[in-house]
């Protein structure tokens, strides 16, 4: 009784407190209801959960069988089926370390060592060749592991590089300042696709005869080059938000440039720009799907390949929804984490 009354008051206050608001509430509820009932029919009532492609074509609902049939390929690409435990192990290790590192109490040097270890272990796991693991060439890597590797390594390298570039752009030394500014503006002036092309087509031309750099590494370099320019501008925004008095107080205490930056300015500046930083990271996570144009099979490309299977033509919606859910899961967690960090630092009274 009490509860329903509380609910009524809440509805009255938040949904029906004016004519306009009541109208909008009703419209939205109707649309939502229509959509949900349609989705329910598609995904549950008329869906094919057991059967084959023919059964799917007859039914008007979702073809869940398609995902059941293809999820292995979408998630892991052309990685040999017998060895599939290796990328799975990689993903589990990686996600565990990401979660471990997200706690502030673990922000210390030994976590960095863990990351270096993980990098080593996952290279061995994915590539094989020692410990009697069969070799798996990198052009067979694909799907989720590839997307995660490109993104995680991309963040790890481009964040510090972005900080260096941002400091460079504000440096008093003209050569450093001009170089940083030109680099940032140049990179921001071109689309990432062209950088990927350059690194996969032009970059090998500059290498000495016989030296071949792995295609994944070339794509990784392009991604890092691109993202660090954006990161630099994000960090620069943070640096500009720090009052001059902070620099002066640090310098007046005899701290040198690097100490001033590391101990006083950057800890504050980086906290100020947590939302745009995570924004850039999320953008990069999704942009890794562009590697499709240099024929790398990331999550997006494996899904598209699965759609082209002649036996299973025509299940685009299912495929796209499947990977949309995966992308959403990751991006949503990142956004959520960013808000947690913001709250934590605000509680500590970051700014006077």
């Amino acid at each position: 009784m009490f509860k329903s009354k509380a609910l009524r008051t809440w509805c009255h206050k938040n949904l029906f407190n004016s004519k306009m608001n009541s109208f909008l509430s009703v419209v939205i509820v109707v649309i939502l209801f229509k959509f949900l009932s349609y989705f329910y029919a598609w995904f549950v009532t008329n869906a094919v959960w057991i059967g084959d492609a023919a059964a799917c074509r007859e039914a008007s609902g979702a073809c869940v069988v398609f995902i059941k049939e293809k999820y292995n390929f979408i998630l892991f690409g052309f990685y040999p089926r017998a060895e599939i435990y290796r990328p799975i192990l990689c993903i589990v290790l990686l996600l565990s370390l990401v979660i471990y590192s997200s706690y502030e109490k673990n922000w210390k040097k030994c976590t960095l060592i863990l990351w270096a270890l993980l990098f080593l272990v996952s290279t061995i796991l994915m590539g094989g060749g020692i410990f009697s693991l069969p070799i798996v060439e990198s052009d067979q890597w694909g799907g989720l592991p590839l997307t995660l590797i490109l993104s995680v390594v991309g963040i790890f390298v481009s964040y510090p590089l972005g900080i260096v570039l941002a400091l460079g752009r504000r440096s008093k030394m003209p050569i450093i300042r001009i170089f940083s500014t030109c680099y940032i503006e140049l990179i921001r002036g071109v689309p990432m696709i062209s950088l990927l092309f350059m690194s996969s087509v032009m970059f090998p031309l500059f290498l000495p005869e016989g030296v071949v750099i792995d295609k994944i590494i070339r794509a990784q370099i392009a991604i890092i080059m691109f993202v660090c320019a954006y990161m630099a501008e994000v960090v620069r925004g943070g640096l500009q938000a720090i009052p001059r008095g902070q620099y002066e107080a640090a310098e007046a205490l005899g701290l040198n440039y690097f100490q001033t930056m590391r101990l006083v300015i950057l800890p504050q500046a980086l906290k100020v720009v947590i939302p745009p930083t995570v924004n850039t990271v999320i953008g990069m996570f999704k942009d890794t799907s562009l590697v499709i144009i240099i024929a790398l099979f990331d999550l997006m490309s494996t899904m598209k390949t699965a759609l082209k299977d002649p036996e299973w033509l025509g299940f685009n919606v299912e495929g796209y929804i499947f990977i949309a859910l995966i992308y959403f899961m990751f991006c949503f967690s990142m956004g959520k984490y960013s808000r947690t960090l913001e709250k934590k630092f605000n509680r500590k009274g970051t700014l006077t």
Binding site: L253, L255, N256, Q268, K348, T352
Partner: protein
């Protein structure tokens, strides 16, 4: 002879605006100088030239006999013997009070953490704020912040202290607690240059008064003479405005 600060024919420009015009000022060890003057007269700029937060164009500034140049090592070692307290405190908001105090001893002086903590706790006691050691600056009142800022400078064991209007940003009831700390410091023989309009403090503490206007030192005299018998018209006018 024992001049710790020697400023000779100092001139400084911001673009083509001349802020300081041919300033000469010497400070002996243990001397207390109070600088006053209307807003915009160049007081802050002058004392910021002493620890080279500002770069001058003409003349020379010597601290402990060493001339300030662009040499980074000279600048950094000078800043370790010249402490500075700002109008707006400039505490580091992301660090606790204790961390604010131990930062410079640990990094600029390379003391280990225990030594730094010992010094920090000692000065927190002196400015009577030990109970706030683990709070963040945002949780303190203005007067407390300024006392922390003074303690932070003292942790480097400076020989000279510069104060740039340390009480102007404070609510009136908090001015005294800060002036008390400064008075105590003066009594212990610290060499001090204070920019302040607290004339009571000046009368009590100053060995010499300096009055500045439009980038020049207009009058430099003992406090008795300065308050009872100012020479220039501008000083008289300024004192009239500030004392009444």
């Amino acid at each position: 002879m024992n001049q710790v600060i020697e400023i000779k024919n100092l001139s400084k420009w911001f673009d083509d605006f001349q802020v300081l015009k041919d300033i000469n000022l010497n400070v002996k060890k243990g001397e207390k100088i109070v600088i006053c003057g209307p807003s915009g007269s160049g007081k802050s700029t002058l004392i910021r030239c002493v620890n080279r937060l500002e770069v001058h164009q003409e003349g020379s500034v010597r601290v402990n006999g060493i001339e300030l140049t662009d040499n980074v090592e000279v600048i950094e070692s000078t800043r370790k013997v010249v402490g500075m307290v700002f109008q707006h405190f400039n505490l580091f908001p992301h660090l606790t009070i204790l961390e604010n105090l131990t930062l410079a001893p640990m990094w600029a002086k390379k003391l280990n953490k225990n030594e730094a903590l010992e010094i920090a706790n000692k000065y927190l006691d002196i400015v009577q704020i030990a109970d706030q050691a683990h709070k963040y600056p945002g949780q303190l009142s203005g007067g407390q912040k300024q006392r922390v800022a003074i303690a932070r400078s003292l942790c480097l064991k400076p020989e000279i202290m510069l104060f740039d209007e340390p009480t102007s940003a404070l609510d009136p009831e908090m001015v005294k607690e800060v002036l008390d700390v400064m008075t105590k410091l003066a009594e212990e023989g610290m060499t001090m240059i204070c920019v302040t309009h607290e004339m009571g403090f000046a009368k009590q503490v100053a060995d010499r008064m300096v009055f500045m206007d439009e980038g020049k030192i207009v009058e430099e005299s003992s406090p008795e003479e300065f308050f009872n018998n100012p020479k220039s018209e501008r000083t008289k006018k300024f004192l009239n405005q500030i004392l009444h």
